[in-house]
């Protein structure tokens, strides 16, 4: 069961990384225009 000492902090670290990623994307304004982002993804590049 000593493996817990590695696994638990690892799991928490990964979770924290996800949280930081979310906070970063929020700060970056990535949730400001959800409708537009949906369209941009399928927009053709300029000819």
């Amino acid at each position: 069961m000593e493996v817990l000492v590695i696994l638990v902090p690892l799991a928490l670290g990964l979770g924290l990384l996800g949280l930081l990623g979310f906070l970063w994307s929020l700060k970056n304004g990535q949730y400001d225009d959800l409708d537009g982002a949906a369209w941009r993804a399928i927009k053709d590049d300029e000819p």
């Binding site: 817990l4 638990v8 924290l16 906070l23 399928i42 927009k43 300029e46």
Partner: protein, 729 residues
């Protein structure tokens, strides 16, 4: 005179030599528009950023050096989009900030829930199998490490609001929530210290997550309304033509006009400021302010109010500093009083929690005393009591109302109704009397030709082409009704008389009956319809007279009947003259109406009805309606309404038809029914779970299952608010 457009008021400094402006754009709805606009604007030299926000319908622009913002607006006009600089109201900025904060809290709470759950599941299953106590303690300590800071951060919206309520000796929904969460966390820490089997970190943090979802949905609904209303206000482009020197004028946004400035008001323009006329003579339409549709004469020294429409002559107006003692000041004073009266209203959720909190807290207390009397230890009794608190924590209660509101407001949005205040739905559902204003509410705000059927098509077309040359509102109505696009060449405007030109070698005239030598015909038309304004047209020897007036909204009759069919009485209160109001009331089948009513009279009538226990909804658009909108139990305005009225109204409706009023009632009634159902569902769920808790059988697993089960049930039920059974008539 040289005229320029000056938008420097809206330009912000974005640092490092960059300037920034936000434009509200009309009709951006797809990816095509988005790339067309972005490409079109980026092509202008020195533009460093052009980004469309499709959700809000806005464009953010940044550029280096000196560029005239008017150029962007012209470029967008070339691309086929109507745009205008946008200045976000402080209320909207605050809402956006608040919504971002809630999303941050939600992120933190969701992260903590996931990780605490990851630690809890092995403990739950370990209790059955063979987890050793040291491992369980280790997992509990880790859970505490995650849950405590996360709850301290993500709980802020609830703790803050509960504290504010308690300080003003009130109870709202956040009080039982805060008590429940705090006690659950504190008890879990104590239990962990004592190496106990159960800790409730997972239940507490999951509760916060679910509640934050409800809070965020609620907030987002209001933010969307604000964004749409903000854009519409910006696109209405309230500008004034200001004198920047003796003979030089500039078009500036109204916000940039200061007291003692002198502005020019041409015929056909709506006045954006309060002030005094210092030169010129004209007739003005003050219907937006007083409801009176008859034109008022103004000359040197007359007072002008924001919202008046200049009809005939050009005026110079000195902007007044303090407008105390004026109509506007009187209206703002009444408005302040009326708004204060309404803030006493308590929301359904808070009313529910007022009953709920004492019941729950007393049950917990009795549970504790019961167990002590039955001979168990104080420690066990306290633990059981707290388990009762956790299991009854109003998780579903917190979601019951916001979820229904969000779904219902989305459905209303699609029928053209915007919600301005969060609790409007429950108030609309209770309405049993609707008072309509006439001018601009039952009637359309623009003038319309009423006798177009009696005029030959080719004459109408020609008159429309001629009318395009005039800015007179009556002529504009003729031009609009004829749908003319190409103005006649070489048309001359005779001030105060009309316009004349030549068509196929013959003189054509449009204007006053005397100007077109058709007084007799005009009198005949007026005797048929005394409420109309007339404009005469002559082409050689041909004579025609157009009768122009505000027309009832196309579905006003059907809407009034639909409202009456729902058991709601309809009444008309108007500032207009008696014959006009009588005609409208007869046409609509409304038997209760009053004409020539002042803003104070309107409030008196509403208060009188409310004293008799009636729930009154006021539907109005004018500045004169603003105080009565605030005084009524609930209020609604068309989007064409004056600024102040629109800001006061609980609901705003878009477009020409009046049908959104009925849709709002139907959706609100359904939503209120669902809210009540949801509250009962939450109570029912508790009725099942509480005996288990009192019996001392609640493990963290049971608490978690009960909480997510009831929340899901309530959310699914809320989805039914999307449809109303009987539809819109």
């Amino acid at each position: 005179m040289h005229a320029t457009r000056d938008f420097s008021h809206f330009v912000k400094d974005a640092g490092s030599g960059l300037s920034h402006i936000d434009l509200a754009v009309e009709g951006v709805s797809c990816a095509n528009c988005m790339s067309k606009i972005e490409r079109g604007l980026s092509a202008i030299p020195h533009v460093t950023l052009a980004r469309v926000n499709l959700t809000d319908g806005r464009v953010a622009l940044e550029w280096k050096g000196a560029l005239d913002p008017a150029r962007f607006i012209d470029r967008l006009a070339e691309l086929g989009y109507n745009a205008y600089p946008f200045e976000s109201a402080s209320a909207e900025t605050a809402e956006a900030e608040q919504s971002r904060f809630l999303l941050r809290c939600l992120g933190v709470a969701a992260f903590a829930t996931m990780n605490v759950m990851m630690l809890s599941i092995p403990v739950w299953s370990g209790n059955i199998s063979d987890m050793i106590p040291e491992q369980r303690d280790f997992f509990h300590w880790l859970s505490a490490l995650i849950a405590l800071p996360a709850a301290a951060y993500a709980g802020q919206p609830f703790f803050g609001s509960a504290w504010r309520a308690l300080r003003s000796r009130n109870v709202n929904m956040d009080v039982p929530i805060s008590i429940g969460v705090t006690l659950a966390l504190a008890m879990s820490v104590v239990e962990t210290l004592g190496h106990a089997e159960h800790a409730y970190f997972d239940a507490a943090i999951m509760l916060l997550t679910f509640l934050l979802v409800g809070r965020y949905l609620d907030q987002n609904m209001r933010r969307r309304t604000r964004a749409v209303a903000g854009n519409l206000a910006a696109l209405r482009a309230e500008t004034a033509t200001k004198f920047i020197s003796e003979d030089e004028i500039s078009e500036v946004p109204v916000a940039a006009v200061k007291p003692a400035d002198i502005v020019l008001l041409r015929p056909g323009e709506r006045c954006g400021v309060d002030g005094t006329v210092i030169a010129g003579r004209s007739e003005v339409d003050q219907s937006l302010i007083t409801g009176e549709t008859l034109y008022a004469n103004v000359e040197h020294g007359s007072a002008m109010y924001a919202g008046s429409l200049n009809v005939s002559g050009t005026l110079r107006i000195r902007v007044s500093a303090a407008s105390e003692g004026t109509l506007l000041a009187e209206i703002s004073r009444l408005l302040g009083n009326a708004l204060q009266a309404r803030s006493r209203y308590v929301q359904l959720a808070d009313r529910a929690s007022r009953l709920y909190a004492p019941v729950v807290h007393i049950t917990a207390l009795l549970t504790m005393l019961g167990w002590v009397l039955a001979g168990s230890s104080w420690h066990d009794a306290v633990i059981t009591a707290i388990a009762v608190l956790i299991i009854t924590c109003p998780c579903a209660l917190g979601l019951a109302i916001p979820t229904v509101q969000t779904v219902a407001s989305g459905a209303m949005f699609n029928t053209g109704v915007l919600l301005n205040s969060g609790d409007a739905i429950e108030r609309v559902a209770a309405v049993d009397r609707i008072i309509f204003d006439k001018t601009g509410t039952l009637t359309l705000p623009e003038l319309d030709v009423v006798n177009s059927a009696t005029i030959p098509k080719h004459v109408f077309d020609l008159a429309g082409q001629l009318a395009l040359a005039s800015r007179h509102p009556v002529a504009a109505a003729v031009a609009r009704a004829s749908q003319a696009r190409a103005p006649l060449a070489g048309v001359v405007e005779e001030p105060g008389q009309g316009v004349r030109g030549t068509f196929k070698g013959q003189e054509v005239r449009l204007g006053r009956p005397t100007f077109c030598k058709s007084d007799q015909l005009a009198n005949e038309t007026l005797s048929l319809d005394p409420e109309a304004s007339v404009v005469a047209f002559s082409h050689g020897e041909l004579r025609y007279v157009f009768a122009v007036r505000q027309r009832l909204r196309p579905d006003a009759g059907a809407t009034v009947r639909a409202i009456q069919a729902r058991g709601i009485m309809v009444e008309i209160l108007s500032g207009d003259r008696e014959p006009a109001v009588r005609a409208a009331a007869n046409a609509l089948g409304v038997c209760e109406w009053r004409a020539g009513v002042t803003p104070a009279d309107k409030i008196a009538r509403i208060n009188d009805l409310q004293r008799h226990g009636l729930k009154v909804m006021m539907v109005g658009d004018g500045l004169n309606d603003a105080p009565s909108l605030a005084a009524a139990y609930v209020s609604m305005s068309p989007i064409s309404a004056a600024h102040l009225s629109q800001a006061t109204a609980d609901l705003v409706f878009l477009g020409k038809p009046l049908a959104p009023v009925v849709a709002a009632i139907d959706f609100s009634r359904k939503a209120l029914r669902l809210m009540r159902q949801n509250l009962w569902l939450a109570v029912g769920y508790n009725a099942l779970a509480v005996p288990i808790a009192i019996a001392g059988l609640v493990t963290p697993l049971v608490a978690a299952a009960a909480m997510s089960g009831s929340s899901l049930l309530v959310m699914l039920n809320a989805l039914r608010a999307r449809r109303v059974a009987n539809g819109r008539s």
